[in-house]
């Protein structure tokens, strides 16, 4: 069925909101700025309820089926987290009501920070960044301040970024005024000391490394690389998008990074919400902790307080204190899992990815031979000869009731399919996904057109994205 746009339903004269009475009398607004009428359709609650319920059925969520988006860590989002975040004592709390009246919220922030420090081995933390990319930017701002305080801001203008990095890495560095130098990973999919050495010099502000990287491979040379960068006067940034497999296994601090962000909406189970909100706390080593954004949350003599005292801080990076509810959900998750649970998360996420790798390797090409961690990278090498591309495989998966993996990323491989099942998937679920992938590889051989013409069973067939960009229609008319 089709669902009309909001303004195509009824005459728009409805109201689905309880307008309260007003006993304070009417004050006539006699302003030159008074608004003279505008038109936004209103609907009754039953209509609104049905409209959005129907729209929701065109979406795919983690509770629909496996959501194997590589580097996105689409794990189960516990309902308990939502319940905790909806407690009135939290939702009704105003961000400016002062330390005395906010001890509960401050406790949540402080304790979450402590847990993240323990998990990563880092020395200090800020919870302000509202997303991973925000955390990257905040970290780079800190790097910049570090070099400025060393009188090297002007010289150290370049950030090294591996070719397999997320797009946010160069975008954040660029936004922060850095030049980008791309570093190639080797044939095994990892960075080498030799390759990084090529670019090291007095112009290097730092390096941004995702580990395990977006090929699903652990950067085994990371400590040597970190040491090298440090020796050259640069700093090392860890993109924490792929933290999941390391939980309880490796403390990122030990790999030599100076700052890292954590995507709470990936590793710590908070829902992605169709695009957000996320949260991107940044953990740092002691030598740069003075640059962390103000305010910090501290605990002294039995009381939690916002501390604005740090003079070297880069300053505030969010209107208040970040996406508090998201942090609260992640905190709930960590307490639910406990140390044993967290360790199993890492273990099972790697087990699941390797299981898929093993079961699919005879059907899809593996561009890298190195061991996979929590995600595995295939491409369409085997299918190309039948005129079938990664995109076709992805769309055919949709037809079969599965969300496709991350496609055409990372860019270092053509036709990438990056599969991250997460630990939330049962064996039955993995087997079903594998079965679908295998059947698609057969279809590709036998009748590629099925794939090229897919999807057929979804809300719509392939959407003309070129038209959308050429003639942008970004709002409706009424």
């Amino acid at each position: 069925y089709e669902e009309p746009l909001l303004w195509e339903i009824g005459d728009g004269q409805g109201v689905g909101f309880s307008i309260p009475g007003c006993e304070t009398g009417k004050t006539i607004l006699k302003s030159k700025h008074k608004r003279r009428g505008f038109k936004l359709p209103g609907l009754s609650e039953p209509e609104v309820s049905r409209h959005f319920t129907r729209l929701s059925t065109w979406n795919y969520g983690v509770d629909t089926n496996i959501y194997p988006l590589g580097s996105c860590t689409m794990k189960y989002n516990p309902k308990l987290n939502e319940k905790v975040a909806s407690l009135k004592g939290f939702t009704n709390c105003h961000p400016l009501q002062g330390n005395d009246l906010s001890q509960g919220c401050l406790e949540v922030l402080f304790k979450t920070g402590e847990l993240l420090k323990e998990i990563t081995g880092m020395d200090d933390v800020t919870l302000q960044p509202a997303a991973g990319a925000h955390g990257e930017l905040v970290s780079l701002m800190m790097f910049k301040k570090f070099h400025r305080d060393n009188g090297e801001e002007k010289i150290r203008d370049t950030i090294l970024i591996p070719d397999s990095a997320h797009g946010t890495n160069p975008a954040s560095a660029s936004l922060c005024g850095f030049k980008i130098q791309v570093v190639k990973s080797n044939i095994d999919g990892v960075l080498t000391v030799e390759e990084v050495s090529k670019y090291l010099g007095s112009n290097i502000a730092g390096i941004m490394i995702t580990n395990p990287n977006t090929l699903g491979i652990f950067e085994k040379n990371i400590r040597d690389i970190s040491e090298l960068v440090h020796r050259c006067g640069g700093l090392v940034y860890g993109d924490g998008a792929n933290l999941n497999p390391l939980l309880g296994k490796v403390k990122v601090a030990d790999t030599g990074v100076d700052a890292m962000h954590i995507n709470l909406h990936k590793t710590f189970s908070t829902p992605h919400g169709g695009g957000g909100p996320g949260a991107g706390p940044v953990c740092v080593k002691r030598h740069i902790s003075k640059y962390l954004p103000n305010p910090k949350v501290v605990f002294n003599s039995g009381k939690y307080t916002f501390d604005y005292s740090c003079k070297e801080s880069i300053g505030r990076v969010h209107g208040f204190y970040g996406n508090f509810s998201v942090i609260l959900k992640a905190y709930t998750y960590i307490l639910s899992m406990g140390r044993d649970g967290l360790k199993k998360v890492g273990e099972y996420s790697v087990l699941n990815a390797n299981y898929i790798r093993f079961r699919l390797k005879n059907y899809y090409h593996l561009p890298y031979n190195a061991d996979s961690m929590h995600e595995v990278l295939f491409n369409d090498e085997n299918q190309k000869k039948f005129g079938v591309s990664t995109l076709d495989i992805a769309k055919r998966l949709e037809d079969k009731g599965f969300h496709p993996p991350t496609i055409y990323f990372p860019l270092v491989v053509t036709g990438s399919m990056l599969i991250e099942p997460t630990e939330s998937e049962s064996r039955t679920s993995l087997d079903n996904f594998i079965k679908a992938m295998v059947s698609i590889s057969k279809e590709a051989k036998e009748d590629g057109n099925i794939l090229v013409n897919s999807p057929k069973n979804c809300k719509c067939e392939r959407v003309d994205e070129t038209l959308a960009a050429r003639k942008p229609i970004l709002k409706g008319e009424f």
Partner: protein
């Protein structure tokens, strides 16, 4: 562990399939000395019941009653249906809608949001959200720098001070100039600096401004004249445009700010919603995600993400912004909220806010408080309490006095207070009576 599906048998079978003996072999690509020897120093997992008890206790440590606090975070009624609909897992647990065929729900909702917001603000377009009001404001400034290729911005000092702090952070890191405009006695921005400066990328005004005062935004564009300087109009209380003119009416090139008032709870400051709208000419430079209408292979109306060539995942270091995760679910909340109200509901709600606020103003004046700024306000204003009314007195009475405002034009003991529709007349009368009793 209740969230982990594998049984012991499952794990053993899967390891056998892989030809492995133990889980640890899966981690053999990690240098051995990086592998932790000890367990994390974290407690064992807690049950659902212990956690519920714990968090109920923790949340009870917060004050969560009605207060007159505003200043960028507002107490408005939130229809329960919003919580209900946004908790549907198809919305809640989905990713960014990169695969349009299985994401039409999110895509259509965002398209509806873009439509409602751009019309409500009187702007050409809206994006699909930034993090919050403060970062949205900064993105507006950055866009103006990009669009004009200039490096100076003229900014009102009547902007929310926390927003200005964030601007300062970005300014320090990125490197551009900020010149401030003072406040006059009415509580409005003194625009005189606009005439004496050149090469300004943008003029930025907040209205209602931080003191709740409606700025004379009609004066901006004429004063910019033929210059290519952009006019950025920002806001923290988006509901004001239900009865006051929106930025678009005054020719704003960028209208950005906070959308929290439209169905998001206060939640100690987040997640909120960075609203970001702009004029057509800025389309290809604008930051953030956009949803566009298109057709599928059969010519059927469908929606998809568009103009992604501005974005980091395509353009990398040449992207118009580094944003990736935005505030998707907050967008959904806002469009549900707006569809429940429509323009007629919004207008009524705005009037209640205004009436309540004006009523409290009058009553405060009666008992000896003063209101120093003469400019008109919507639902927030600055009040100066008599000296007898110290913060401690307020706490003893069970009230929060508001947000303290320190400004050279204002006497001591001045506070920004906000009065929305959640206050009944009896609430306001009780407040007046309580503090009146101290005087």
């Amino acid at each position: 562990m209740r969230y982990l599906p594998h049984s012991k048998n499952d794990v053993e079978d899967m390891l056998k399939t892989l030809g492995l003996e133990s889980i640890s072999e899966l981690f053999s690509s990690i240098p051995e000395d990086l592998i932790l020897k000890d367990q994390l120093n974290i407690a064992n997992g807690l049950t659902e019941w212990d956690l519920t008890d714990y968090f109920t206790q923790v949340s009870d440590k917060n004050y969560s009653r009605k207060s007159f606090l505003g200043g960028g975070s507002y107490s408005h009624y939130i229809p329960n249906i919003i919580n209900y609909l946004t908790s549907r897992s198809e919305f809640l647990t989905s990713y960014t809608p990169y695969q349009p065929e299985i994401s039409q729900g999110t895509l259509q909702a965002v398209f509806e949001y873009q439509t409602y917001i751009s019309k409500y603000l009187g702007m050409d377009y809206s994006n699909a959200s930034m993090y919050d009001g403060a970062t949205s404001f900064v993105e507006g400034v950055l866009l103006s720098l990009r669009a004009t290729k200039r490096d100076k911005v003229l900014v009102s000092l009547a902007i929310n001070p926390r927003y200005l702090e964030v601007l300062n952070t970005y300014k320090e890191a990125i490197g551009f100039q900020v010149i401030f405009m003072d406040i006059d006695k009415s509580g409005k921005t003194n625009l005189d600096k606009m005439d004496s400066l050149e090469d300004i990328a943008s003029v930025v005004i907040q209205s209602p401004n931080y003191f709740g005062v409606i700025e004379d935004q009609d004066l901006i564009k004429p004063r910019i004249g033929e210059e290519k300087t952009l006019f950025i109009s920002i806001f923290s209380e988006i509901l004001a445009f239900s009865i006051f003119n929106p930025p678009g009416i005054y020719g704003a090139d960028i209208a950005c700010g906070e959308g929290q008032s439209f169905g998001l709870s206060r939640s100690f400051g987040g997640p909120y919603l960075g609203v970001f709208a702009f004029s057509q000419k800025l389309l290809r430079l604008a930051p953030g995600r956009l949803v566009g209408e298109s057709v599928d292979k059969n010519g059927k109306r469908s929606f998809c993400l568009t103009l992604a060539t501005r974005e980091q995942h395509i353009r990398r270091e040449r992207a118009t912004s580094n944003i990736c995760s935005n505030q998707g679910l907050c967008v959904l909340r806002v469009i549900i909220y707006l569809s429940l109200l429509g323009s007629s509901g919004l207008k009524k709600l705005g009037e209640i806010n205004y009436n309540n606020s004006e009523y409290l103003k009058r009553e405060l004046l009666k008992i000896g408080c003063s209101i120093n700024f003469s400019g008109e306000t919507f639902n927030e204003f600055v009040v100066t309490y008599p000296r007898e009314l110290s913060s401690k007195k307020f706490f003893d009475l069970g009230y929060v006095p508001g947000i303290e405002v320190v400004d050279k034009t204002l006497p001591d003991n001045s506070f920004l207070i906000t009065v929305t529709e959640v206050f009944k007349k009896s609430d306001l009368d009780s407040f007046i009576e309580a503090i009146g009793g101290v005087l």
